[in-house]
């Protein structure tokens, strides 16, 4: 299946929830509305024509004017095609349902987006920080315009802790 066919099929199925972006981008992608996000993911994974069983990556993007999006790159090893799926998140409180129910691989990617961008993934099975250390409370470093303190003291491990 080539890209047009995939796009047609999804548009037929989900209609207004899908917005196909074909601008000057070399890489065309599909916007999906947040309400239908998980539904579309499940369809993409299970439909025999789609079969996107492999989540290549999932990452947050912070666009100007404080718009958050998450971008998923999916690939189907069966049909050898790939797709970029994007979700626009609510402005004031970036929040999305978790995709871990569809792909286990989303687990760490979502944890990473959670701590670095402050995007909340609802229903995530293990919402601990992944890369930053546990006492980190200097905001979400990957957001644009984040200015961290010049000097961040090492967490004091001598107090308490059993490891």
């Amino acid at each position: 299946m080539n890209k047009e066919q995939i796009e047609n099929k999804i548009t037929q199925k989900f209609g207004s929830a899908i917005e196909i972006q074909k601008t000057k981008n070399p890489e065309p992608f599909i916007y999906v509305s947040i309400e239908k996000y998980i539904e579309v993911c499940e369809f993409l994974k299970t439909d025999p024509d789609m079969c996107f069983e492999y989540l290549f990556q999932l990452g947050g993007v912070h666009y100007p004017d404080d718009r958050f999006e998450i971008a998923l790159t999916l690939s189907s090893h069966k049909h050898k095609h790939e797709l970029v799926l994007k979700v626009k998140l609510p402005h004031d409180n970036p929040k999305a349902p978790t995709a871990t129910t569809v792909w286990e691989a989303a687990n760490w990617y979502e944890r990473e987006a959670m701590e670095l961008f402050g995007i909340q993934f609802e229903g995530h099975p293990d919402p601990r920080p992944l890369l930053l250390y546990d006492d980190w409370n200097y905001g979400y470093p990957m957001r644009k315009g984040w200015t961290g303190p010049d000097f961040i003291p090492m967490p004091d491990k001598t107090k308490g802790g059993d490891d």
Partner: protein
């Protein structure tokens, strides 16, 4: 980190063992909290991030060309593929055509680096299984590859060899003969490693039927590269969506059958042979011509978003690159192979012993800076 250990419920016979962050077999700084019953692993929680250097954030403050040396640091065992993936992403964004000679040189270097990386895997794997000697043997051969790299780009570990639109330098005149000798000698050395390992009864009992990864589970967790090919899943980006003129090379994709530790080992050993084949072809068929396309000094690619994917030694790696049309990338998301491969560890190691965990973890060939970035 204390909350992690406190939330785990333990029964009478179970206890927690903290493996890492400083532990000989966690290959860098990975912390595994093991819930053990005797020596059996009931559950395992990996903690990563000890090497987090926020390369993605750094990328937003560097120009496209300036970011190239940082990609070296993503995976220090195999820097060339990281370089290559970045170059490919930017070239795709800007629509730059890379001259054929540069493409061949890129293939040559990535394949040499693939061998070097697999040699580290082999040595470290043997070390994990308690055999010290093969480690030094593999590093002896790796040394030769590093010499070749030094000859070409002056660096031994972080090469910074690729450029946007090509490569930084052409091959020195003595490279051809030295590399030819290497491939000839190296094939014999691979046989030597195999004699030490492949059918060694102790090695077989330690690796056969240990840590079996079903294809479906591997895909679900995002495993790639030799890890998933060991299970018999025929997926190699060099074949599926060839980049940098890989379609012109004749090579096989070795596959395992069962997906155990031994299969993953075997796939890598075979891949070294295949890489030798590719290197020979690249050396013999090296086209004449430019090694770098014309790229303006102040490089401003058009705004847009691209994905680049390559088959790095550890599996699929790639960049998700968002450009706003300025000289600096707007957002770079780095997808590395170890990230997916490490997620499988929890599934693979449950129910096995600590000794098996070491073997399984070794067989995934995870490089931690790649996970933490």
């Amino acid at each position: 980190m204390t909350d992690v250990t406190k939330n785990i419920q333990l029964s009478e016979e179970e206890f927690l063992l903290n493996m890492g962050p400083q532990h000989p077999s966690t290959h860098g700084v990975l912390r595994l909290v093991l819930k053990l019953r005797g020596e059996f692993i009931e559950d395992l929680t990996p903690h990563v991030g000890y090497l987090h250097r926020s390369i993605e954030k750094i990328a937003e403050n560097r120009t496209y060309a300036q970011f190239m040396p940082f990609t070296d640091r993503i995976d220090y065992c195999a820097s060339m593929p990281c370089n290559l993936a970045w170059a490919l992403a930017v070239e795709k964004l800007a629509g730059i055509e890379v001259p054929p000679r540069a493409q061949y040189l890129r293939v040559l270097m990535t394949e040499l680096n693939r061998i070097a990386s697999h040699l580290i895997y082999l040595g470290v794997m043997s070390l994990d299984l308690g055999a010290f000697t093969p480690f030094l043997y593999t590093f002896r051969e790796r040394e030769w590859i590093l010499d070749l790299f030094e000859m070409t780009c002056g660096q031994r570990l972080t090469y910074n060899y690729m450029r946007i639109g090509g490569v930084s330098r052409d091959l020195p005149p003595e490279f051809y003969q030295s590399c030819k000798n290497f491939t000839k000698v190296f094939l014999k050395k691979v046989d030597e490693y195999e004699a030490l390992f492949t059918y060694n009864p102790i090695f077989l009992t330690r690796t056969k039927d240990i840590g079996i990864l079903p294809i479906a589970v591997g895909l679900e967790y995002g495993a790639s590269g030799p890890t998933i090919r060991g299970s018999g899943h025929n997926w190699d980006l060099r074949k599926v969506e060839p980049y940098s003129s890989y379609e012109k090379f004749d090579f096989n994709v070795p596959l395992g059958t069962k997906g155990d530790v031994w299969d993953r080992y075997m796939v890598r050993v075979q891949e070294m042979r295949e890489s030798c084949k590719i290197i020979n072809q690249a050396l013999d068929g090296l086209p004449e011509g430019e090694i770098k396309a014309k790229v303006p000094g102040v490089f401003k690619p058009p705004a847009g978003e691209v994905i680049s994917r390559i088959e790095a030694p550890r599996g699929e790696m790639g960049y998700y690159l968002v450009s706003d049309g300025s000289t600096k990338p707007y957002r770079v998301k780095i997808r590395t192979a170890s990230y997916g491969n490490l997620q499988v560890l929890r599934y693979l190691s449950r129910g096995w012993k600590i000794a098996d965990l070491v073997a399984i973890f070794g067989s995934l060939d995870v490089v931690l800076p790649e996970v933490d970035r």
